[in-house]
Symmetry: C2
Subunit: 157 residues, 2 copies
DNA sequence: GACTTATCGTTCGCCTCACTAACGTTAGGG
DNA sequence: CCCTAACGTTAGTGAGGCGAACGATAAGTC
């Protein structure tokens, strides 16, 4: 039975060279693979990428307002609401009004959040490893550094 | 007036190092930049990435059924319909029933489509150039080859 | 020749992601 | 005191990448 995999995945050998060599296309496909791999692990643990990004940011940069979290994660203000709602509901984050500026909420990582983050860190590391499996350690570094320069350039245009 | 750019773009300097070094995150952001740059040029010309991919595929691999085009471009069968509808309406493509297999349509590039494709090729080249602007020619090649290996690995898992 | 199974094009609907618009609340500078 | 701007929040948009199902057609099997 020669039926395989009834998704729409492109047959790699059949893609015209012109398309295969477009950086924009390769980035899109790479992002797809990356999302699939990361989400598989995170959703299995009941988390999302956005939640992970927020937890990391709180640990590494300390408590912050929602606006600051938006700036630091790239998550849109309007999407941050639901992310923080889920995290507070799970007790991984505390959200209190700022007494010095009552427009703001101060978001803080809880003990449970820090513990949770340790687990998610491992899952994310595994995901990076699966994603970059075909590359040597040196090549992985090369790729990351090239992508960082790309991002930095376009993020500060 | 100090208000700048009311989007949600991350402040590059404020992103925690852990996030900044994640390949999955960098790929996602790279894809975002790439899409913005490509789409800006293509939509200005009244085209889409999917239309471009189909036109390229018809030129480089010859006339094909819609299913074959799906395999070669990675565009889902269910999305191909609208793409071909737009291309036929614009006279850039001809869609005729296959006399040898009446389930199939044979899609062919028209003269107008080929001409159009020449223009889009230039726009896409410009987009790649803008996207890869911060990288040297060698680095661009490195990046593309690393991404190709990544894609090939995950596309044939 | 009848039955079964698979493929093709097509429609419909889902979900995620990034984003815009608007609004009430609060701060702060003239 | 006003005006402007920032904050958090809600709602809605649009594209992209799917899955499910369906009628029509083809191919393989008995």
């Amino acid at each position: 039975m020669p039926e395989r995999d009834r998704h729409a995945r492109a047959d790699p050998a059949a893609v015209p060279p012109r398309l295969r060599s477009l950086a924009s296309r390769l980035l899109g496909r790479g992002a797809l693979h990356a999302d699939r791999i990361s989400n598989a692990r995170l959703t299995a643990a009941g988390a999302t990428r956005w939640q992970y990004a927020v937890l990391v940011t709180l640990r590494d940069a300390g408590p912050a307002s929602q606006a600051a979290l938006s700036d630091r994660t790239g998550i849109h203000r309007s999407d941050m609401v639901a992310v923080l709602a889920a995290l507070t509901a799970a007790g991984q984050v505390q959200r209190l009004p700022d007494p010095d500026d009552r427009r703001r909420n101060i978001v803080t990582l809880t003990e449970a959040g820090a513990t949770r983050l340790d687990l998610l860190d491992r899952l994310v590391d595994e995901a990076q490893d699966e994603l970059l499996a075909p590359l040597s350690p040196t090549e992985r570094l090369d790729l990351v550094r090239l992508l960082q320069r790309l991002d930095h350039h376009h993020a500060t245009r």
